[in-house]
């Protein structure tokens, strides 16, 4: 066993919670995955990066096998792998090692979220004192949306022509001092990034929502809620929420929106098409975004998107970058899951249940042609641009863990 005993216990508990679907929602899953991986980097014994990459890959495979529908697990694992490779290639400034002492604290036990924040803050303060704040990632705290990542010039097609030597980095080289740097990068690039995604998306709300518009949404998504709430600070608009049977997440969403003073209407799912002609924009959240620009979202999303397409109503999808998965929808049912049919037809109605087959799919797959724009935490992109965001975020060799 490569993992320490405490860590192994943590991993096991995470896996069983994933399997039992006690932990659902890509944000929670992503966050816990990132914390576990950071602990792996800090507490396991590894002498060179090859070993570490292998450990992370093995663990990543275990975690994503536990719940293949939670694509965020794999996404975070791929991000961590990319960070490790970048650190080894020396692409990140090495002088950061000097101030990374603070992030070593995370070695002890399972720090909860509050601790994370403090740690992040202290880390950042320390850096600014040293006036070494050259790292672009520190920009996440600012209001400004960071510039779009540059066009990556590394791909095998390009490598056909250029010299290959730069590609063969020796990951097995012993390098003392890589560990704190990797931990720091995980803290800044991934964990701190997770904290700011909602804000990053909500900050763009005013660009997309205008006065007196009618917005339709479905399901409960914190991203969409924050997005609309932020817009409501400045603009007056109306929101129509489909109730999202059988989970009735839509009702929950409507209550939350009404609580912040937005004029909200709840409709049944079957009325979506009827009211679509009055809607100016559809704003939905996503569970995961696939590499072709399609998305896995709460059940009913496809129906809303299809109705919107019929009326040529723009469909906006609010999604954080960690939901972007480099996988393709090889089969549209692959990422769906059927949950207990209890909410559709209660088990107390046993006589009927015996005779009818009751299905309750939890997600919907929405094809890229139904989406007009993805609003993510660093900007916005049409579905045809998603592949590029994926190239910027992950290493193509990690697509299959």
């Amino acid at each position: 066993m490569v993992l320490s005993k405490a860590l192994e216990a943590h991993v096991e508990s995470f896996i069983s919670r994933l399997k039992r679907r006690q932990i659902v929602g890509s944000y929670e899953v992503a966050k816990e995955t990132a914390i576990i991986l950071r602990q792996v980097v800090s507490t396991t014994r590894w002498s060179d990066a090859t070993v570490l990459i292998q450990i992370i890959k093995d663990l990543g495979r275990r975690l994503s096998a536990a719940q293949p529908k939670e694509l965020a697990v794999g996404n975070i694992v791929r991000r961590v792998l990319k960070i490790i490779k970048e650190v080894v290639r020396g692409e990140l400034e090495t002088d950061d090692i000097m101030n990374s002492g603070t992030s070593e604290e995370s070695d002890d036990g399972f720090s909860d979220d509050d601790e994370e924040d403090n740690e992040e803050d202290s880390d950042r303060e320390f850096k600014s004192i040293l006036a070494q704040d050259t790292n672009d990632n520190a920009d996440h705290t600012n209001d400004a949306i960071p510039a779009r990542p540059k066009l990556q010039t590394e791909s095998s097609m390009f490598n056909l022509l250029v010299d290959q030597h730069s590609d063969n980095v020796d990951y097995s080289a012993k390098s003392y001092g890589m560990k704190p740097l990797i931990i720091q990068e995980i803290n800044e690039e991934i964990i701190a990034d997770l904290e700011t995604v909602y804000k990053g998306i909500a900050d763009q709300a005013l660009e997309h929502i205008h006065a007196n518009e009618v917005i339709m949404t479905i399901g409960y998504s914190r991203t969409v809620k924050d997005f609309l709430t932020k817009a409501a600070l400045k603009r007056n608009f109306q929101v129509i929420v489909a109730e999202t049977s059988p989970t009735l997440q839509g009702q929950e969403m409507a209550a939350a929106l009404a609580a912040v003073g937005i004029e909200t209407t709840v409709i049944t799912d079957s009325a979506v098409y009827a009211v679509m002609s009055r809607v100016n924009k559809v704003v939905i959240g996503a569970h995961a975004v696939l590499a072709n620009g399609g998305l896995v979202a709460v059940t009913g999303s496809q129906m809303v998107a299809a109705a919107a397409k019929h009326h040529a109503t723009p469909v906006l999808v609010c999604t954080a970058l960690y939901k972007l998965s480099p996988l393709f929808p090889y089969d549209i049912d692959l990422f769906n899951v059927c949950v207990t049919p209890d909410q559709v037809l209660s088990f107390s109605e046993g006589t009927l249940i015996d005779k009818a087959d009751v299905q309750n799919p939890y997600y919907d797959f929405v094809a890229p042609e139904f989406v007009n724009l993805f609003v993510h935490n660093l900007g916005s992109a049409p579905p045809s641009y998603v592949y590029r965001l994926i190239n910027d975020n992950y290493d193509s060799e990690d697509t299959i863990l």
Partner: protein
């Protein structure tokens, strides 16, 4: 390899020489370029851009050009010669249609892709060297590496493409394509997936029948359908796989005639169309319509006289199918909006991803 007349490639060369006679003298080794190109193409597993690349490598190896300028000039001439040969071959292919032997020479666009790739490769390197011998050594080294990569491209395409095949799938394949065959065989024999395949006949070459026998040999249940039955059969089909002779800048493909209409029918019935191609087939072309391709403009595009066409229609003699092949295009262009995804050795690409790759390559 089959030639209608042994002198024809030389004829191509002769005009070339006349054209160049008053400028720089040609390298004697250049005379072998076409012969060399044909020799490489005799290998049935050799793809056209790779063969083109190999001709260049061969040429560099025996080039005796004394100066850098002459070397680059002769290199350019080799490119033109091969291009001419491939256009000539695509004519020849039609006249030999009766023999029912598959002729891999028809790929004019693929040859162009190979030539572009090599020219870019030379351009990237030529500015770094002042000594000709150094440049030649670097080019030879580099191209050996590129050929090595290219050799494994089809395998990687097969791995990428086979992910999209699922159990109980029904797949429609257009005519014969080596890459598509590889994908299907990989899915069936390596991943042990069970699926059925319909193959269109692919007139006028009827290459689809070859594909059927090959698939049957590898134990994949398959059936040939008429090109005109695509609309009829498509309701039963889950996805469509097509190969590509060339992938153009906007993500569209140039492929055997009939691909475009299959893609149109598939779009109407919302079936996914996957184009399968190796990345060395990406070519820097931007066709605006079907007739905007650097290949033979067939007679069918221009109207023949009434008398001629009626005599064509009535002619049921031996040469009938030859006439048909001669007067019809061998490739068509499928615009990107009709393709779902491109499955390549670089991974899965959306059509818009192709231009990105090409920009990286040629910028």
């Amino acid at each position: 390899m089959i030639h209608s007349g042994a002198d024809s490639p030389i004829f191509v060369m002769a005009t070339e020489i006349e054209k160049q006679a008053d400028s720089a003298p040609l390298d004697p080794k250049l005379f072998n370029a076409v012969e060399c190109y044909h020799r490489f193409l005799q290998d049935p597993d050799m793809s056209t851009p790779v063969a083109t690349f190999k001709v260049f490598t061969e040429f560099i190896r025996c080039s005796q050009a004394p100066t850098m300028t002459e070397f680059l000039e002769t290199l350019r001439q080799v490119g033109e010669t091969i291009q001419d040969a491939s256009i000539y071959d695509s004519n020849e292919w039609k006249s030999l249609n009766n023999s029912r032997t598959r002729n891999p020479h028809k790929a004019t666009i693929a040859t162009l892709a190979g030539i572009h790739l090599f020219n870019q490769f030379v351009r990237r390197n030529s500015s770094d060297f002042t000594e000709l011998e150094d440049l030649k050594a670097t080019l030879l080294n580099g191209s050996a590496r590129i050929l090595e990569k290219a050799a494994s491209a089809r395998e990687r395409v097969a791995e990428t493409g086979a992910q999209f095949v699922h159990d109980n799938a029904v797949i429609l394949v257009h005519s014969y394509s080596r890459t598509v065959m590889n994908v299907l065989q990989y899915a069936a024999n390596v991943q042990n997936k069970r699926f059925k395949v319909y193959v269109t006949e692919g007139r006028p070459t009827s290459d689809g029948l070859v594909a059927v026998s090959e698939l049957q040999a590898s134990g994949i249940p398959c059936a040939a359908v008429l090109d005109s039955a695509v609309g009829f059969i498509l309701d039963k089909v889950d996805m469509i796989f097509v190969g590509a002779e060339g992938v153009v800048e906007n993500g569209g493909i140039i492929n055997q005639i009939g691909t475009y209409q299959i893609a149109l029918v598939a779009k109407a019935l919302s079936k996914p169309v996957y184009a399968i191609a190796e990345s060395y087939k990406f070519v820097r072309l931007y066709p605006l319509n079907q007739y905007d391709l650097p290949s033979i403009v067939p007679d069918i595009v221009s109207f023949s006289t009434r008398r001629k066409s009626s005599s064509n229609a009535l002619d049921l003699g031996e040469n009938h199918s030859v006439d048909l092949a001669m007067s019809n295009p061998s490739v068509d262009y499928t615009p990107p909006q009709y393709l779902t995804l491109l499955l390549t050795d670089l991974g899965v690409l959306t059509p818009s991803g192709v231009s990105d790759e090409l920009i990286k390559l040629y910028l």
